[in-house]
């Protein structure tokens, strides 16, 4: 009794796409040029995409489970620290509105999945394989109530993300915008704050302005300069747009909730 392998293959392909998009976002954001952005989030998405693809399809397994456990423990601690820092400014509101809170939940869910599968595999005396491995029964998670809570939590973030993307607040763009670029999303005053240090027309300035354009559907300040940008510039803007980031997160949230539930 198994979930059809083509569904698992399809989801694994989506996860690899998310990983590729996250890698693309990392490169496009050019952190080595001083743009801090959301490099940590992109790295987390890249790793989660690869790890989940390996969980869904055995042939895509890349690293031993123990290594993934360690990786997601580090990511969970990292995002926990980021959420703690955010909470000092926002208080409990960080749970619903925090920029890093969903990534903390994603990382913790991944940590739980690997830990629970390892525990179940140790109990049965076998190793963990992908869900789609031929002839294998579906692996079962220990502590299923934790899986259920994570699945509900992930579903809630998916729904909140969609609501924000389609709601009036998205016009302000800050929730999904990369922090280094979000200053451009508050309006003319904030644009002028950022503009002197990073003039429009430079790579980082262009990215900020284009991200803002993608965020609110408007034309960025200095749009004349950007309008003459190359095709690669628009691809970069697409990769760095808040909608792309949110799309990755939504796809990941749905897939993770699916994996948690089918392994209960």
């Amino acid at each position: 009794m198994m979930t059809p392998s083509w569904i698992l293959d399809l989801l694994a392909a989506v996860m690899l796409l998310v990983a590729a998009a996250s890698a693309g976002r990392l490169v496009a954001a050019r952190p080595w040029a001083g743009s801090t952005g959301d490099a940590d989030i992109d790295i987390a998405h890249l790793l989660m995409g690869i790890a989940m693809a390996g969980m869904l399809v055995a042939s895509l397994t890349t690293l031993p489970n123990g290594v993934w456990d360690a990786i997601f423990a580090v990511l969970t601690a990292w995002f926990g620290w980021r959420v703690y820092r955010e909470s000092r400014g926002q208080g409990a509101r960080v749970l619903a509105d925090g920029h890093h809170m969903p990534h903390l939940v994603h990382s913790a869910a991944m940590l739980y999945m690997f830990a629970a599968l390892n525990a179940a595999a140790a109990g049965s005396g076998g190793g963990m394989s992908g869900m789609g491995s031929s002839g294998m029964a579906m692996p079962t998670l220990s502590a299923p109530v934790v899986a259920f809570i994570f699945a509900l939590w992930l579903a809630a973030y998916v729904v909140l993300d969609l609501d924000r993307l389609s709601g009036p607040a998205h016009g302000h763009g800050s929730y999904f915008a990369r922090p280094a670029l979000a200053g451009a999303t508050t309006g003319a005053g904030s644009v002028s704050l950022a503009a002197p240090a990073v003039p429009a027309g430079t790579s980082a300035g262009a990215a900020a302005a284009q991200d803002q354009a993608a965020a609110d559907g408007s034309h960025p300040a200095g749009g004349g300069l950007l309008a003459t940008g190359s095709r690669s510039g628009s691809a970069r803007a697409l990769l760095l747009s808040p909608r792309a980031a949110a799309g990755c997160r939504i796809a990941m949230g749905v897939t993770m909730a699916f994996m948690l539930v089918i392994m209960i």
Binding site: P4, E86, A257, I262
Partner: protein, 334 residues
């Protein structure tokens, strides 16, 4: 451009980013929060529908089982549908799960909210018949403890009550009344909870061991702590079927009429409804059997909780405006 300039600019923007994040988000209003909660439950339904069991012959057999005891006119289409599902399990279950996923995403995505809610009503009615046998309402098997009158019909009810229309917003005493008005909303509440009270007193449910057996039956396959809870509850209710049914029916009847009472009593009623629904969800339904695997939805308890919250009496918009006016007048006098 120097590195120092870049770093300075980044720092400035990081500072402004934190301000932006804190200031720009506006929490959705109560009704939108409830719509999003409904979307979360639909999303949970969708992923449950993708479980391995749903792709097996067992799913079709489960559907066929709901025909039992129903009148022929209801049972025949269920049997036909169950046969169809058994012959095309993978295709049809994939379609079912995907429809539920789209309903969830559609409710969450504001431009498609109305379409998704309307589709969810149609889908819920279809599933209520073909998937739940009309919640066993017609075959004397319905019990408030095991999900009567069918969890899925509550999805349809919620979609109606949370419809994004503000025809009665100014006078609506609770979120559920904003679209349909207070009278209609209260009548729907009365019918639902009143029917649950009636089902609690049906002969099959007030038998000495009925409630106890029902709860004990839910323990199978559950995690140890939940099975222990169920077993304890079952032994407490052993041979107490009649008394337990009467107490439950009285509580449900109080809930049914409570929304017609003044606001403080109505609030107490909603709290009682949440408590009763939570008890049903945990002890009677074992969270819909989700933790045992093979559940198609979280069953009625969670939906009854959500429904109760939509009836939480708040100050009407008109009353709030009047209060603000009074406060303004007092301020001016002072």
């Amino acid at each position: 451009m120097s590195d120092i300039a870049v770093a300075g600019g980044e720092a400035a923007r990081r500072d402004s980013a934190s301000v932006t994040t804190a200031d720009s988000w506006q929490p959705p209003d109560t009704r939108r929060v409830l719509q999003l909660s409904l979307a979360v439950i639909w999303l949970l339904d969708a992923v449950l529908q993708y479980q391995s069991f749903m792709f097996s012959k067992g799913f079709g057999q489960m559907l066929a089982g709901t025909a039992s005891g129903n009148p022929g006119v209801v049972a025949s289409p269920i049997t036909w549908d169950a046969n169809l599902v058994q012959h095309h399990t993978v295709l049809l279950n994939t379609i079912f799960a995907t429809i539920q996923l789209l309903l969830a995403l559609g409710i969450a995505w504001r431009p498609t909210l109305r379409v998704a809610l309307a589709a969810s009503i149609a889908w819920s009615l279809g599933v209520w018949w073909f998937g739940e046998g009309l919640g066993e309402v017609l075959n004397s098997g319905a019990s408030p403890v095991n999900g009567a009158p069918g969890a899925v019909i509550i999805y349809a009810l919620l979609a109606v009550l949370l419809w994004p229309s503000d025809g009665h917003a100014a006078t609506a005493p609770f979120a559920a009344a904003r679209a349909v008005g207070a009278q209609v909303a209260r009548a729907l509440w009365l019918v639902l909870w009143g029917s649950l009270a009636y089902f609690a007193l049906m002969p099959g449910n007030r038998a000495p061991q009925a409630l106890s057996s029902m709860i004990a039956g839910m323990a199978s396959g559950e995690p140890g702590w939940l099975a222990a809870l169920d077993n304890h509850a079952a032994s407490l209710l052993a041979h107490q079927g009649l008394a337990a049914s009467v107490v439950l029916a009285v509580a449900l009847a109080l809930i049914a009429v409570g929304v017609y009472l003044p606001r403080p009593a109505a609030r107490a009623t909603v709290v009682l409804a949440v408590v009763v629904a939570a008890v049903i969800w945990v002890f009677g339904e074992a969270f819909g059997g989700i933790l045992a695997g093979g559940a198609t939805d979280p069953n009625s308890g969670l939906l009854l909780i959500l429904l109760a919250v939509t009836y939480w009496p708040a100050r009407t918009a008109a009353a709030a405006a009047a209060a603000a006016q009074r406060a303004g007048a007092e301020g001016a006098r002072a």
